[in-house]
Symmetry: C2
Subunit: 315 residues, 2 copies
């Protein structure tokens, strides 16, 4: 297992990435608070560079490389926000990013990566093809693999979103973080553990992709098989590293219905006037499902990203 | 003609409303700047209370009333953002707002007003019915009419959006403001005239609702007859007051194609990740249409509001 990031790792990450990322705003909505009878604080990583918190981890990962490694370039397999963030970070540091993507990936996701100047290599939409394609490119070009969450530097980078949030908003009772592969939720757990242990971390997962919920319950990592959710950033499974961090630190994972993800998304669009992904709206969906649990509490929500296909909004 | 707001009127308005409104953020987008070759500063009044700059004018108008007038309640005829803002402001100051609305107004607009606690009175969708209905209510209940733009206190309130913008962003060359009835554009002109005369104010109007453009060109107020534009906040005509302020102070009005309004709206959704109305996106549409004119300039855009029917997005 890769090492769990230490307090110093988080401190270094925060200092290292500061000038390359936005300190995103924390938004509130009087009307949503009134409606749901609690005090919600939306940490708007949808307004982060490249449209997602992934910029934090990608930047930290690149800044953790040696000059020689950086020069040779980096590679990842992802069709989502990590790929776009790694591409933009690579551009920032004048190196090359290669992104291995299933050829079935939506055009607008491919376009985001290409726009930031990365090279896209298509593979078949299977794990085998993805791994083989990636490995053969690493062998050939000596690229460094930057995994989207099974990487301590990525997790240390992601921790800074929650950290900024509880620094700005005192007296939070909870922070709710989406759980996909466990990158941002692990980072959130570690930030709280090291710097604000009073805050409880809750994970949010779609019922249709609840492998992390089942993994923590049954104390073994389940693969994510045929997950079904509109929250397309949350379909991946935990790694050994993220499983261990979550099982030691997270209060609980709450799973939510698709309908509530869509309702939460719409509520955010209408009241906060910001564009968020379903994978972000799921944090508010947790409140919709468990109003009693959060009544009168101060709750931070990690709004992880805003990259949606506007032609396919669910309303 | 009603009196043109003085420098003191603006100073008083700013001080008066400060604690009742949000100081909205100014957003920028590296990628939009790169694409359009200029430096754009989006003054996000879509994030204002009640979702639009109208909250500024409505608050100032109510705070300008005597206690007796305030107690009797206020009335307006509008189906748009002014109605919602006046309703919320009235709620804030514990008085009653009545809104006269054509019975053909969209349900979601009616709902916004009702949610803020105002009484909605429906009239036929004609000017005559609207005026008669409003006047008979004023006669009966002694309400004070708060017109959405033909009112110096409203204009003084609206001026504070541009004022905050050029205070925060030094060295603006231009501020672009949408032009409907001329409330926010007049306020923008006066803020610049009194406090930052180096900034040139540009008006943005749909080609399909270009009555203000023609009015300034031909030096007489044209009525807005059968206007056609997706920018539903910009279909009204100038009053004598706003005509006079604009004709003395605005640099020019630029009219834009519908297609560019929609393209600009999409660009804002995709890159800034915020929800804006077509009537706001028109300011960016001006840049899309006149790239040469604004090349390398620092341009402030008044993003007036974010109240859209999510079921009817144009993409």
């Amino acid at each position: 297992m890769k090492p769990i990031p230490t307090k110093d790792d988080l401190l270094n990450a925060r200092q290292r990435i500061e000038k390359y990322i936005h300190k995103t705003p924390v938004m509130t909505s009087h009307s949503i608070n009134e409606l749901l009878q609690c005090n919600l604080f939306f940490k708007c990583e949808n307004l982060q560079r490249a449209g997602a918190f992934k910029m934090r981890g990608a930047t930290n990962a690149l800044l953790s490389l040696s000059n020689e490694e950086l020069k040779k370039g980096v590679i990842t397999h992802s069709s989502g926000n990590h790929a776009a963030a790694l591409s933009l970070a690579a551009k920032t540091f004048n190196t090359k990013a290669t992104v291995v993507m299933p050829k079935t990936a939506p055009e607008f996701k491919k376009q985001a990566v290409v726009n930031f100047g990365a090279e896209v290599i298509f593979c078949e939409p299977t794990v085998e093809s993805r791994v083989n394609t990636t490995n053969s490119l690493i062998e050939k070009y000596n690229y460094t693999l930057i995994h989207s969450y099974d990487n301590p530097n990525i997790i240390a980078g992601q921790s800074t979103a929650a950290w900024e949030l509880f620094e700005e908003i005192q007296n939070l009772d909870y922070i709710i973080s989406p759980v996909g592969g466990g990158g941002v939720s692990s980072g959130t757990c570690l930030a709280c553990k090291y710097f604000n242990p009073k805050v409880k971390v809750i994970g949010a997962e779609p019922k249709g992709a609840d492998d992390a919920f089942r993994s923590l319950r049954d104390k073994k990592i389940y693969p994510s098989i045929n997950p079904k959710s509109i929250a397309d950033g949350l379909l991946t499974q935990l790694s050994e590293l993220t499983y261990n961090i979550l099982s030691d630190n997270i209060q609980e994972i709450i799973t939510v219905e698709e309908e509530n993800i869509i309702n939460a998304m719409r509520l955010i669009y209408e009241r906060l006037k910001i564009i968020v992904e379903p994978s972000s709206a799921i944090t508010l969906a947790v409140i919709l499902e468990k109003q009693v649990q959060f009544k009168d509490k101060n709750v931070g929500l990690i709004i992880t990203g805003g990259n949606v296909d506007l032609n396919k909004l669910p309303f």
